[in-house]
């Protein structure tokens, strides 16, 4: 491995892990001085074409507090058939099945190239995946129609044996029974009443079996499937039925008088969905998919009253503590999210409306359970339709790109402790010797639950070096971290993926260059950004910015080289060179700036930022700008106003938006119709090139970005202008123009 860059990339490809530091400072004090914490971005289910899962159980360290999985870093005594745990140094006997083990006959998990390995284990009965649609009917006719079509279409995308259920809501909440012939049957709940799980289950007639729900064996009793099957049916059995049912969905029939919003019982609907699954299929993969076309306006979880004259809360209201329903609603949804997560289910939110829909309050439902959050203007847009379709995309091996009910267990060697994680997860509250007292993100635990994840779901995990300065680590010592992810595969198999990595320790005083060179600025930027965004959720915006600034300054102080009082002398090594730029754009990003964003939008952006992998995260922090011109092949250009030139076509990807911007001249040419003239075919190609590239991005990204095609002076050009570094403004435009 030639460079650290290659090393990093290789590691990422193999293990789905990127550390901020790839050589670790060996003492607590030094680690603190590094400013950027020792942390990593982990993509637990990173797609690996070359990773055939093994069909047996992992071998665990026998120390009850450790239980680390046998891995290539373990020392093995082939003769004694013993292995020493590299985390706790416990010596363990190999299980009988490993009797034939020898240096030349090693099990996969001992081979270095299997630092990441996946086991398929047989535990408990397999239950099909469950999809519970929770559909708002307070929509415009057109929207509802589009939504109905999308839902009907989705039935064909589901695994044939998946269970599917339908809840609709408006003023009331209806849980549809799917097994009936001749008459469609639904249970109706008042939209204003907060019901306990028990009540809901009683009312749905789910609570009859007294001991129904025991962990891991939801279908044990013969009766139970009968009961739950009333509401959750295998797709292949009832797709016709359900298609008809969806087709007959009416708009919420209750009259809405002028000046009022429809009464929408989102809170109760979700509560019932959660209660339904909780009662029937706890701890089994299930998605609650909420489709809503507006804010909850009544009952628990209401976000705004039904008076149209009272607008939904804005950042301004929130700052002024003027958002009456926010706290209560947030609490409601948090409670729900926690329950859902406890049951291993997830909640997706598909919110399509021109105004806000209460994502701010509901965000935890998706955030804590690993569900998707999609925001659009209307269900009748390709943004929604395609995004929704993409939920059911399949991976290269024909499997759904979704997994459920994962738990991530992190084990560290003694010198490290776990400070926390940031991502779509909740704490499992597993205290242990390797849990740090200092928390970064969701801390205080070495295990987290990720109710839903896909191959790109990425968690940031923060560590703390606890080795004391005066207890040096021997030269060449390595620290190790093991990530054990147990999850339900989309094929309903139970799998365990184990990733074990090790990094060298280095003495920061003597070997700072090593450490510096092993700095992964991209990972560091994302990790810092996650911390910042995480803080921004609970702290005032300016505080977070100040904190970010200070960290940046301290980092530069530590690693920059400069002469005092000489700004021009400042130099950062190559491995740090991009970091300040990332921070700059991060400060301007919607993740930290709420200006010009509604609370819902902020929540939406932050949601995605907290779960995308490094590449996507970087795009979010610093949008990518490509320039297309006659002067050469498309090239990335600085995200700077200076990149906006009349004869360029710009393609900006902010992750959430794809903007194609025609420079002034290009736009004129296009208006003049040159592209249609055979002699200017190259112009036509030029126009087409960014479209094709954009299409490529649109095809792969989830959620599908908003696609904007604009030109110089167009109103939509604001999307671009708001992102670029305003190096040229009305104040200096002229001067700069001259200069350049």
């Amino acid at each position: 491995m030639a460079t650290y860059l290659e090393f990093i990339q290789q590691n990422e490809e193999r293990d789905g892990v990127r550390f901020s530091w790839n050589v670790w400072p060996s003492s607590r004090l030094e680690a603190t001085r590094m400013v950027v914490p020792l942390a990593c971005l982990l993509t637990p289910l990173k797609e690996r074409l070359d990773l055939p899962p093994v069909q047996y159980e992992p071998v665990l360290c026998s120390r009850p507090t450790c239980k680390a999985v046998l891995n290539p870093l373990c020392q093995v005594d082939y003769r004694a058939k013993l292995w020493a745990c590299n985390f706790c140094f416990q010596r363990n006997q190999f299980p009988p099945a490993y009797a034939g083990i020898s240096e030349v006959n090693q099990p996969a998990e001992l081979m270095p190239q299997f630092s990441t390995i996946e086991y398929i284990v047989q535990r408990g009965p397999q239950t099909p995946l469950i999809f519970l649609y929770v559909v708002d009917t307070c929509l415009e006719e057109e929207d509802l129609q589009a939504l109905k079509e999308s839902l009907q279409m989705s039935l064909s995308l589901l695994p044939a044996d998946a269970l599917v259920g339908l809840i609709t809501f408006g003023r009331m909440v209806q849980v549809h029974e799917l097994s009936c012939e001749g008459i469609s049957k639904s249970y109706v709940f008042r939209g204003t009443k907060d019901l306990t799980a028990k009540q809901i289950q009683d009312m749905l007639g789910l609570s009859r079996p007294a001991v129904p729900i025991q962990q891991g064996r939801p279908l044990q009793t013969p009766e139970q499937p009968v009961i739950s099957s009333r509401f959750l049916q295998p797709v292949h059995k009832i797709d016709m039925n359900l298609t008809d049912l969806l087709g007959e969905l009416q708009r919420d029939p209750w009259p809405v008088t002028q000046g009022k919003r429809s009464l929408r019982s989102t809170g109760v609907a979700l509560s019932i969905a959660v209660g339904l699954l909780e009662g029937t299929f706890p701890n089994t993969g299930a998605r609650i998919m909420l489709f809503t076309g507006g804010p909850p306006t009544q009952g628990p979880g209401m976000v705004v009253g039904d008076e149209l004259k009272t607008p939904i809360r804005s950042w301004h209201d929130i700052e002024k503590d003027n958002a009456r329903f926010m706290k209560k609603a947030t609490k409601h949804y948090e409670t729900l999210a926690n329950r859902t997560a406890a049951n291993g289910h997830c909640i997706d939110i598909y919110a399509c409306a021109l105004d806000q829909t209460g994502l701010l309050e509901m965000k935890c439902c998706a955030n804590l359970t690993g569900g998707h959050m999609v925001m659009g203007d209307s269900f009748n847009t390709s943004l929604f339709k395609q995004t929704f379709q993409r939920v059911f995309n399949k991976g290269f091996n024909g499997e759904f790109r979704m997994a459920f009910g994962a738990s991530l267990d992190v084990k560290t060697s003694r010198e490290l402790k776990i400070a926390g994680a940031i991502g779509p997860c909740i704490s499992l509250n597993a205290k242990g010797p390797c849990v740090s007292e200092n928390e970064l993100g969701i801390g205080g635990t070495s295990q987290w639950k990720i109710c839903s994840l896909d191959p790109s779901t990425t968690l940031a995990i923060y560590f703390e070096v606890v080795n004391q300065h005066n207890a040096p680590i021997p030269q060449g010592g390595r620290g190790a971290v093991q990530f054990v992810t147990q999850y339900q595969h989309s094929s309903t198999q139970k799998r365990i993926r184990v990733t074990t990595i090790a990094r060298n320790w280095a003495d920061a005083q003597s070997q700072l260059q090593h450490i510096e060179a092993a700095f992964d600025q991209e990972a560091a930027a994302v990790l810092m950004a996650r911390l910042g965004v995480y803080r921004a959720e609970s702290e005032e915006g300016p505080d977070v910015l100040r904190w970010l600034d200070r960290q940046l300054i301290r980092l530069c102080q530590k690693f920059g080289q400069y002469n005092k009082d000489d700004p021009n002398s400042f130099r950062l090594s190559e491995s740090f060179s991009l970091y300040p730029q990332f921070m700059f754009h991060l400060r301007r990003s919607p993740f930290l700036q709420v200006f010009n964003n509604s609370p819902d939008e902020s929540s939406y952006y932050r949601h995605h930022f907290a779960r995308q992998d490094l590449t996507q995260s970087l795009i979010m922090i610093q949008p990518i700008l490509y320039a297309y011109s006659f002067h050469g092949p498309p090239e990335p250009v600085l995200l700077d106003s200076s990149s906006i030139l009349p004869d360029r076509i710009l393609l900006m990807d902010t992750f959430f938006q794809i903007v194609i911007y025609l420079g002034e001249t290009i736009a004129q040419w296009q208006k003049a119709g040159y592209q249609d003239m055979p002699e200017y075919e190259n112009f036509k190609h030029l126009l087409q090139a960014p479209l094709d590239d954009a299409q490529e991005i649109l095809q792969t990204r989830f959620p599908m970005p908003r696609y904007i095609h604009t030109e110089h002076g167009g109103s939509q050009a604001r999307f671009l202008l708001s992102k670029v570094n305003p190096s040229q403004t009305h104040n200096n435009l002229y001067a700069w123009g001259q200069v350049s």
């Binding site: 009331m172 209806q174 029974e177 009936c180 001749g182 008459i183 469609s184 049957k185 639904s186 249970y187 109706v188 709940f189 008042r190 009443k193 019901l195 009540q199 009683d202 009312m203 749905l204 007639g205 008809d244 007959e248 009416q250 029939p253 209750w254 009259p255």
Partner: protein, 1153 residues
């Protein structure tokens, strides 16, 4: 008399009828009716005395008679004794001692006479004799018992007969009817006990004086009878023997009365008697006018007679029941037939006589009556006491033919049992309003003195026969109906236009109001508006106004109402086939929703809900391919899950509804849910109506006690041990007040609840019915519902209930002339203040009884006016006001009051009053209060209106002569005196049912109609003449039909000819008749057709389909049947008619002394 006669006829012994005429005539002849009467009358005057003397002794059978004692004594002379008893009671038996003999003697004659009549009449006389015969058992026994006496009896009878008869008659006359039986006095033995008796004697003495003379004649006439008498006697005797106690007595006593009957005939005359003997003679007619009777025209006071029964017995009897009576028994006395209560005469008089007798007694009714009476005497019996049958028949024949024109103020309308046409000439038809009295005392003192409740029984939406026109709909335009400025009374025929028509003076409060310009019209020379005949509100008693928006809730015109069918689909309902049945029926029934006169289709929308522990609503919107079911399990907080598609137009959603109704039974076929909720069901309906912003009606089909966890959950608190304790009232009270509050909400929304119950066990009707009751709904109960047996009844009820005319969201106010005020209301409704009766729904069968009290004086000149205004929403959603006006006379003489009363209405009021009373007081208290009030009413009459006479005489006002018998029926009803087999639910059910009954319904409910089927003329379409409700009237060889508005019993005697059994039941012998069936087989023979047509006709007349029960004599079910023979003693302790009459008499005497 006539009564008796009728009764007799009724009795039906086959023979009788034929005989009647013949007999009667003879009798008449023999008796001298003609002549005699007069003489009698004459006697009467004197009579009283006369009676006593002669008969004196026993005299009065009147109530007392029974006196068991009498019986004892009389045993010998049963008949006489009976009479005596009455008399006795009345009079002092003491005297009787001596008299008896005399009486005895006289009696006999009378008896004889009676007997003759009897034969002739069949009825009384015969009955007595015949009856006995027929009912061998009874009679026989008696004989034995009396045996000794018998002999004597015969003799005695004869003796008595004559005298008594005369006496009685006299007394009757005297009394005016009262039972003239004074004669009884003789019996006095009984009298002994009573103080009066002694006095009586004196009286009797006097009577005797005159009377005697008179009597003699009778006797003479009677003479013949004697023979018959003898027969009668036997019968009578039996009773006595049984003495006392046994029901038999009744008979005996009756006999006693009988005599009076004869007198009755006289009675009429008797009234006159008061005037002078002579008058009496004249036909009844005259009489009426004349004396006391006069008042009575109609009926006359029947004072019932207490007369004669001179026989010693009577004396005792009075209290008969009471011990004393028996004791007194100086048996000897017995003989006197005294009872003549007959005032009957009175009875006779007015009514029936003619009719029935018509043939028989050709000429004068009176006579006829007289004759009739005579017969009774023999038996003594029952026939002699006022007979409802007779009264009904009389009224029917007297008043059934002429239309009843309402133009005259204070007219007493024909009885409810009479078919008559009404011509609205300014007062509301009696179909809408009936009053307890059509002559109101001017002052409250008078009213208090008389204790006659002033009440009106109002049925605002009553159905009219096709020949009568519905109230016209008047539209006064945008400003709405013209009303008095002050009291807000609506324009009516009694408003006085003044100042040339520019203003009008309110007839209620006298306030002067400007006539609105658009309503102005000139007056003619009589001060009437020129256009008064063109305007219904100026010329008719009943009419409707179109209401303006001011009369609507929220100032919005109402939407058409909705019907919501809510079906219990718990295990029991499904298993019994009920759910399927309902669904099947609804499919066709929905095409018959009520519609406004000329509309093509009904405006009413329908909705469907099923429920067990949870509720299922159905979306049946026409655009759906299949219905949608929405389950609401949040019963703690009910709501309606859908708006659009729940309430739909039947025609538009026909296919969806049909599909739904097909599927409901399938969906729940396998249900195992046994628990139900109830309150949430009502709440659901209520919420649905609220959401739809309309009024409407819920039809709830419910099977069990709602024990599922939900609001309004009930527990089983049935406890028969509470009966007759102070806590008994709790059985009638709702368990919780939850339902009352719910009812309030329902009323506010105009949500009427009709409840169909199918319980297999206790389900607490008292509580479940609260909402129904307060919203103006109906409860139907089918205990132990079995598809095969009960389906017809249920379906017919359902059909009728769905189809019947109904108004919603109704408010009724009754305005009255200054001086009286509506103070109390009875019925199925809710009141949020003291004047407005609010009903979520009001159908054509619902009745509200309103009581009035004085708050000032009334004047005789202006009379008293009632205006009942009902604001309601029609079935098409039109807001209307229905106005009924009624003008009544006012009086300063109590006699006028008593002469214009209507007993049926009075009973309606009293029953409702008592039935409400049980909610707050122990049943015994209620019963005592009832008896006491009636005693006061009668005592007041006796004291202030009747001719002076012996205290031993029971004298009843003609109009109230049935009060004792009906009152007794009320007292014996299941609510006030439950039998062992009557469940708590039944009692609560009946209690609520009676509360909204109209007069006709209470009449037949308390005094069931008993028709001898075997007497039916298969060639005519008329009903056979009814007979009195006593086992003694039944013959083993006949079949009878008894109906009380809820049930129809077909009773088959053990000796019925096989041919008839074959014809009616299609089986070859008595033993093969199955009583499991609830229908009569359809057989092609005249008898079967006739009987079925009778049954059908009866079913048509009642608002509910009656359950048909076939009872074989001596079968288990007969117990149940006997429960309805209300003149007999009931197993649960209810007194027999005769006993009760005695008891009343005693009460009255106590009040008088």
């Amino acid at each position: 008399m006539s009564v008796n006669q009728q009764a007799h006829t009724g009795p039906p012994y086959g023979q009788p009828q034929p005989g009647y005429q013949g007999y009667q005539q003879p009798a008449y002849g023999g008796q001298p009716l003609p002549g005699v009467p007069q003489s009698q009358y004459g006697a009467y005057n004197g009579p009283m005395p006369g009676y006593q003397q002669p008969v004196p002794p026993q005299g009065y059978f009147p109530s007392l008679g029974f006196p068991s004692k009498g019986s004892p004594v009389s045993l010998n002379s049963d008949a006489s004794s009976l009479a005596p008893n009455f008399i006795g009671s009345l009079r002092a038996p003491p005297t009787s001692g001596a008299p008896p003999p005399a009486s005895g003697a006289s009696l006999p004659s009378s008896h004889l006479a009676y007997s003759q009549f009897g034969h002739g009449d069949v009825q009384n006389g015969i009955p007595a004799s015949a009856a006995p015969m027929q009912r061998p058992p009874a009679s026989q026994p008696f004989l034995p018992g009396s045996a000794p006496t018998p002999v004597s009896q015969t003799s005695t009878f004869q003796q008595y007969g004559p005298p008594p008869a005369s006496v009685q008659q006299l007394s009757n006359h005297m009394a005016g009817m009262t039972i003239g039986s004074t004669t009884a006095s003789a019996p006095p033995p009984a009298g002994l006990g009573y103080g009066p008796p002694t006095s009586i004697p004196p009286v009797s003495g006097s009577f005797s004086a005159t009377g005697s003379g008179l009597y003699t004649p009778y006797t003479a006439s009677q003479g013949p009878p004697p023979t018959s008498v003898s027969q009668g006697l036997p019968l009578a005797q039996p009773p006595f023997p049984g003495q006392p106690i046994s029901t038999q007595r009744l008979p005996t006593q009756v006999p006693g009365f009988a005599p009076p009957p004869s007198s009755t005939g006289i009675g009429p005359s008797s009234y006159p008697p008061t005037a002078g003997a002579p008058r009496p003679p004249t036909m009844p007619g005259p009489p009426l006018p004349g004396q006391t009777v006069a008042g009575p025209p109609t009926s006359q006071p029947n004072h019932v007679s207490s007369p004669p029964p001179p026989s010693a017995m009577s004396g005792p009897h009075p209290g008969p029941p009471m011990s004393g009576l028996h004791g007194p028994p100086p048996p000897t006395h017995p003989p006197q037939p005294g009872y003549q209560m007959q005032q009957n005469g009175s009875f006779g008089q007015v009514r029936g006589p003619q009719p029935n007798y018509g043939g028989a007694y050709p000429g004068t009714p009176n006579y006829g009556s007289q004759p009739g009476q005579p017969p009774p005497p023999k038996r003594l019996d029952p026939d002699s006491i006022p007979s409802p049958i007779q009264v009904i028949e009389d009224d029917r024949s007297n008043r059934g033919s002429e239309p009843f024109a309402t133009g005259v103020r204070g007219q007493v309308p024909p009885l409810v049992t009479t078919n008559f046409l009404v011509k609205d000439q300014g007062n509301a038809s009696p179909r809408y309003i009936r009053c307890t009295s059509y002559n109101i005392p001017c002052t409250s003192d008078m009213a208090k003195q008389s204790q006659v409740p002033l009440a009106a029984v109002i049925k605002p939406l009553a159905t009219l026969p096709p020949e009568e026109t519905l109230p016209y709909l008047v539209d006064h335009g945008e400003s709405g109906p013209v009303r008095c400025n002050r009291c807000k009374a609506y324009m009516c025929p009694f408003m006085q236009f003044i100042e040339g028509g520019r203003r009008f003076q309110c007839c209620f409060c006298s306030c002067v109001t400007e006539v609105p310009p658009h309503y102005f019209q000139h007056l003619d020379h009589t001060g009437k508006r020129v256009d008064f005949c063109d305007r219904p509100e100026l010329s008719l008693g009943s009419y409707e106004f179109l209401a303006t928006v001011d009369y609507c809730k929220n100032n919005k015109f109402p939407s058409p109402p909705a019907f919501i069918f809510m079906i219990d689909v718990s295990y029991n309902a499904v298993k019994s086939g009920l759910v399927r049945l309902i669904c099947e029926e609804l499919k066709s029934l929905l095409d018959y929703l009520p519609r406004e006169g000329n509309m093509e289709e009904s405006a009413i929308r329908v909705g469907f809900v099923t429920y067990n522990k949870v509720l299922h609503f159905y979306n049946v919107k026409s655009s759906l391919a299949q219905p949608q079911m929405m389950v609401v399990s949040d019963v703690a907080d009910m709501f309606v899950p859908l708006l659009d598609g729940f309430l739909v137009n039947v025609n538009e959603s026909r296919t969806v509804i049909a599909s739904l109704l097909d599927q409901i039974p399938e969906m729940f076929a396998d249900t195992r849910e046994t628990e139900t909720v109830f309150a949430p069901v009502i709440q659901a309906g209520l919420e649905a109506l609220k959401a739809a912003e309309c009024a409407g009606k819920l039809f709830i089909f419910h099977t069990s006690l709602p024990i599922a966890e939900a609001p309004g959950k009930l527990k089983n608190r049935d406890d028969k041990k509470l009966i007759n304790t102070d806590k008994e009232k709790t059985l009638f009270q709702p368990q919780t007040n939850f339902y009352s509050n719910l009812a309030k909400d329902c009323v506010a929304q105009g949500c009427c609840v009709d409840l169909f119950l199918f319980p297999n066990q206790y389900l607490d009707v008292a509580t479940l019915g609260v909402v129904t009751y307060q919203t103006g709904g109906s409860i139907y109960k089918y205990a132990y519902f079995q598809l095969e047996i009960d389906q017809d009844r249920f379906l017919n009820d359902l059909r009728r209930d769905v189809q019947k005319e109904v108004g919603f969201d109704a408010v009724m106010r009754v305005r009255t002339s200054t001086g009286i005020r509506a103070t109390d209301f009875f019925g199925a409704f809710y009141m949020s203040n003291t004047t407005d009766v609010e009903m979520a729904g009001l159908d054509c069968d619902k009745t509200i009884t309103v009581e009035f009290k004085h708050d000032d004086k009334l004047s005789e000149d202006s009379g008293a006016l009632l205006q009942c205004a009902l604001l309601y929403t029609s079935c098409a959603g039109q807001r209307r006001l229905r106005i009924h006006n009624l003008s009544l006379n006012c009086c300063t003489q109590l006699a006028d009051l008593y002469r214009n009363c209507e007993t049926d209405t009075l009973i309606n009021y009293l029953a409702k009053y008592a039935y409400r009373g049980v909610l707050g007081s122990p049943v015994k208290t209620v019963r005592d209060a009832l008896i006491n009030q009636c005693a006061q009413i009668l005592a007041c009459y006796r004291k202030n209106c009747a001719n002076p006479s012996s205290a031993g005489q029971l004298i009843l006002p003609e109009c109230m002569k049935l009060l004792p018998v009906y009152l007794n029926c009320v007292l014996k009803s299941d609510v006030l005196q439950p039998g062992l087999e009557v469940t708590t639910d039944d009692r609560a059910y009946i209690r609520q049912l009676v509360t909204s009954m109209d007069v006709a319904e209470t009449n037949v409910f308390f005094y069931p109609r008993l028709l001898p089927l075997t007497k039916a003329d298969v060639d005519s379409d008329s009903l056979p003449a009814a007979i009195r409700n006593s086992e003694e009237r039944l013959s083993k060889g006949d079949m009878y039909l008894l109906e009380n508005g809820l049930n129809i019993f077909v009773w088959v005697g053990v000796n019925v000819q096989q041919g008839l059994i074959q014809n009616l039941f299609g089986v070859s012998s008595f033993s093969q008749i199955s009583n499991a069936s609830s229908t009569l087989p359809v057989l092609e023979n005249p008898f079967s057709k006739k009987v079925r047509s009778i049954v059908d006709m009866l079913q048509m007349q009642r608002s509910r389909y009656m359950k048909l029960i076939i009872v074989k004599q001596e079968d288990k079910l007969e117990m149940l049947f006997k429960h309805f023979l209300v003149e007999d003693k009931s197993l649960s302790g209810g007194a027999s008619y005769v006993d009760f009459l005695c008891h009343m008499h005693k009460e009255i005497r106590q009040l008088l002394s």
